[in-house]
Amino acid sequence: MPNDYWLRIYGITGIYIMLSLGLNVVAGFAGLLDLAYVAFFGIGGYTFALLSSNHFNIHLPFLIVLPIAAIVTMGFGFALGATSIRLSGDYLAIATLAFAQIFRLLLINLDRPIDITGGVNGIYNFDPIHILGIKIVSPESYAYLIWFSALIVVIGCFRLKNSRYGRGWNAIREDELAAQVLGVNITWMKLKAFAGGALIAGGTGAFFASFQDSVFPNNFDFPQLVIVYCMVILGGLGNILGVVLGAVLLSVLPEFLREYGAYRMMSYGLILIVLMALRPQGLLGTIGFLTKTKKRPDKDETGILRASTDLYYEGAQETECKRAETGKHCKGDHVVLELKGVSMNFGGVTAVNNLHFHLFEREILSIIGPNGAGKSTVFNLISGIYKPDKGSILYKGSELAGLKPHRVLKAGIARTFQNLRLFNKMTVLDNAKVAQFHRTKSGPFSILLHLPRYKKEEAECERYAKEVLGRFGRRLTGYRLEQEAMFLSYANRRRLEIARALSTKAKVLMLDEPSAGMNPQETFEITDFIKQLRDDYGYTILLIEHKLNLVRKISDRVIVLDYGRKIAEGSYEDVASNTQVIEAYLGRKGH
C-alpha cells in the first residue's frame, strides 16, 4: 500500500476526474462554454460545509448531504443555464464568468452581518463520513470511496452519451437551428446540460470538502477553473476516456515536477495555447476508445483492395427495403395547411407579401419562382424559424405562426434545407436517430439505470432509423451507417437530409431544392423517390424546385412566387403558359 502522501494524490485525482467529467457534459457534449463551472463545485462544497459541521450546528449524515448538495447545485445550474438560452459562444462565456466573479464576491463578503460563508477564512472541521457503519477518515478509505464514485460517474456519462440526450446535445453543438427543426427542444436541452454538469460538480464538491476537511473561497476561483478546463481540453473535449486521462495526467504530473511548482499555472496557460494551435482535439480527440474499431471496409483479411462497387452491393442483405403496396395513395380533398395573408419584412425588404395558399392532404405542391422570390422564406415561416409580421398559418386548424420550430415538427411538419444542414461529425445512423428525439421519452433516470423501457425505446429507434435509411437503396446502409456525415458524397448527403426528415415520422414534408447539384441520373432517381413518398407512404409534400421537368413530372399543383407575391397557381401546364410567369423567368418580349 503506497504511503499516505500518494493516497492523497489518488484521492485528489479522483475528485478531478469527476469534476472534469461534469465539465465534459456541459462543454463537451453540449458545446456550451461554461466559465462558472467551478462555482458549482463551490456550491456543493459549501453546502456540505453548512450541513455537516458546527458552523450552524447541523449534523446531517453524508449519505443525505451528498444528494442535497448535488440537487441544490443542480438548481443553480438550471438558473445559470437560463442565460444560455439567449447567449452563445463568447457571450455565454463572459456572462458565466461574470457570475463566477459574483459568486466569489459573495463567498468572501457573506460573513457579515450574519456569518454564512465564513468569509476569507472559509469553514472547516467537518463531521467525518459514515457509510454503512464504516468511518471514512484515512486517505486510503477516501481513495476507495472517491474512485468508486468516479467509476459510477464514468458509467453514467457513457450511458448519457449514447442515449437520445447525448445525440440531442451533439446535434445542438453541431447546428442549433437544424436541431430545433428536427424536434430537439434546444432550450430545455441546454438547461439540462448546465444542470447535469452542475449536479456532478455539486456532488464532487461535497466529496472535496470532506476530503480537505475545509472549504475556502480560493478553492473555487479562476485558477481552479483553468485547471479543470486544461484537463478536459488536454484529454479531448467530448471524449469521456480522454477527459479521465487528462485529469489523471494533470493531477499526477505536477507531483513529479514539484520543484517547478511555481511555474505550474504558467504551464497550464501555455498548454492551452499550444493545444489550440497544434491539436485542438486533445490527446484522444476523435479516437473513440471503446467504440468498435472500424475495419477499413476496402481492406479485409485477404489483403486485396476491394472496389467500392463491390462494397456497394455487399450490404444488400442488411437492407429491408420494405415497399408498401404501390400507388395506394393520391391527393385527398382535405386541406391540411393553409396560409392566409402572410407577410414578412426584413428591415425594409419585403420577402413575402400577402401570401395565400392551401395544401391538400397527400398532395405534391411545388413552389417555383426566380431566385430571391421568397420561397425559402415561406418554408422558414412555416417551420417556425421566423414569425410572420402579418397573417396566419393554419395546420389542421391550429395556428402555427409564432410556434417554436421543434413544436412545428411535433405537430407533424418536417423540412430539409436548401444548403444542407447535416450534423457533419455525427454518423449517418445518429443523424437519423436524432430526428426521432421528439418521439422518444426516456429521461435521465431511465437512461442512467438502463431500464427496460429505455432499452426498448432505443432498439425501436435504431430499427426505424435503419428502415428509413434503407429506403434509399443500399447507399446509406451497411458500413455507411457508422460513417460520419461529412464523408458522404454530395448526392448521398442530400439523400441523408431527406432521410432525416423522414425519420421524424412527420406527415408533411417540405423539401427545399432536394435535387440541387445532382446530375440528371440522380435527379431522375430522386424525382421517382419523391413521388414514391406520396404514392406508397402517403406523405404530403411541399416542394421548392428549380428543375422544371422535375416539377412537371410529379406535381399535382404548382404555385409561382415572384418578389414575395403569388403570381400564378394551378397545374403545371396552366402555370407554364402564364405570361406573368414567363416574364418573371425570362423577361418581357421586346418589340
Binding site: 457571450y91 466573479q101 464576491l105 478546463y229 504558467m266 496557460g269 492551452l272 493545444l275 489550440m276 494551435a277
Partner: protein, 310 residues
C-alpha cells in the same frame, strides 16, 4: 439627500476618471472584436503589463524614490513606454497565439485567449512577485492632493491628468480612424474582411495595427491607473479586463465610439453606485450591468442587430 448632492460633483469627476480608463481598455476589446470576431481575453493582462512598464520607467528614473528629472518628462516617458511595451506584446500575442487559429472555430480562439491570459498573469507573478508595486506619486507632484478646490469638490491633479490623457488619446484615435488611409482600411476590414482583401488591403497587416493600437491604449490605461491609485500588481488585469469588456459590450461590441461611450457610462455608474452601496460590492455593479446587457440587448447601445441568413 443633501449629503448625496454635495458628493455629486466629486463623484462625477471620479466617474469621468474611471470612465476614461475603462474607455481606453474597452477600445482594445472592441477593435479586435470588430475585425476578428474574437474576444481577446488577454487584453486585461496587456493592460496590467503596461502598468508594470510604467512603474519600471519611474523606478529606473528615480533614486531613493526621488525623480531625477522633470516630473512631466517622466510621466510622459512612462506613458510612452507603457504604450510601446503593451503594443509590442499585443502584436506578439496575435502573431503566435491567434494567427494560427484564423480558420479555427471560435471556441478554440476563446480557449487560446484564456490560455494567454493565464500565462501572462502568472508570468508576471513569477518574475515580478505577488507584492504590489507602488508609484511614489507624492514625490512626482508634491501638491497632487489638491490643485483646485471648488466648494466641496476636490480636483486632484492625477485625476485631471488621467481625464486629459485618456480623452486626448481617444481623440487621436478617432482622428486616425476617420481621416487617415490606414484608418479607412481598418474600417473596411472590420466591415468585410474578404472584400477588403479583394480591394488590395493587406488585412494581415491591418490586424497587426489593430492589435498594436488597441494594446497600446490598454497599456496607457494601465500606467494611468497606476499613477491614479498608486499601485499595480499582477492581478489587476483580470478585474480591469472584465470591466473594460463590460464597457465594450455596453457600448456595442465592434463599435469604437460605442466603446468610449460605454466606458464613460460605466465609470459614472460605478462612481454613483459607491455613494449608495457598500464598496465591497461595487464590482457587482459592473458584472450585473454586463449580464443584463448581454441578455436583453447584446448589441449594446450603438451596435446593430445582424440577422442571420437561413
Amino acid at each position: 439627500m443633501d449629503v448625496y448632492l454635495q458628493q455629486l460633483p466629486q463623484q462625477l469627476i471620479n466617474g469621468l476618471t474611471l470612465g476614461g480608463v475603462y474607455a481606453l481598455i474597452a477600445i482594445g476589446y472592441t477593435m479586435v472584436y470588430g475585425i476578428l470576431f474574437m474576444l481577446n481575453f488577454a487584453h486585461g493582462e496587456i493592460y496590467m503589463i503596461g502598468g508594470f512598464a510604467g512603474w519600471w520607467v519611474l523606478h529606473l528614473l528615480s533614486v531613493n524614490s526621488q525623480p531625477v528629472m522633470n516630473a512631466a518628462l517622466i510621466i510622459s516617458l512612462m506613458i510612452i513606454a507603457a504604450m510601446a511595451v503593451s503594443g509590442l506584446l499585443g502584436v506578439l500575442v496575435e502573431r503566435f497565439a491567434y494567427r494560427p487559429l484564423r480558420q479555427a472555430p471560435r471556441i478554440n480562439l476563446l480557449l487560446s485567449a484564456l490560455g494567454v491570459s493565464i500565462f501572462l498573469q502568472n508570468l508576471v507573478l513569477n518574475f515580478q512577485g505577488a507584492k504590489p508595486r507602488f508609484f511614489h506619486v507624492m514625490s512626482l507632484v508634491p501638491e497632487n492632493i489638491r490643485v483646485i478646490e471648488v466648494g466641496n469638490t476636490v480636483f486632484s491633479f492625477m485625476r485631471i491628468l488621467v481625464i486629459v490623457v485618456s480623452f486626448v488619446l481617444m481623440g487621436l484615435l478617432t482622428y486616425a480612424i476617420k481621416k487617415t488611409k490606414t484608418g479607412k482600411a481598418m474600417r473596411a476590414t472590420a466591415q468585410d474582411i474578404e472584400a477588403a482583401t479583394f480591394m488590395g488591403i493587406d488585412t494581415d497587416r491591418i490586424i497587426v495595427y489593430v492589435f498594436l493600437i488597441g494594446s497600446a491604449l490598454g497599456g496607457a490605461a494601465g500606467t494611468l491607473v497606476g499613477l491614479l491609485f498608486t499601485q499595480v500588481d499582477y492581478y489587476v488585469g483580470f478585474q480591469a479586463g472584465l470591466k473594460g469588456f463590460t464597457a465594450a459590450v455596453l457600448g456595442g461590441i465592434g463599435n469604437i465610439s460605442g466603446a468610449m461611450l460605454g466606458g464613460i457610462i460605466l465609470g459614472l455608474t460605478e462612481a454613483l453606485a459607491t455613494t449608495f452601496f457598500p464598496s465591497a460590492y461595487k464590482d457587482v455593479v459592473a458584472f450585473t450591468i454586463l449580464i443584463i446587457v448581454l441578455i436583453f440587448r447584446p448589441w449594446g447601445l450603438m451596435g446593430e442587430k445582424i440577422p442571420e441568413k437561413v
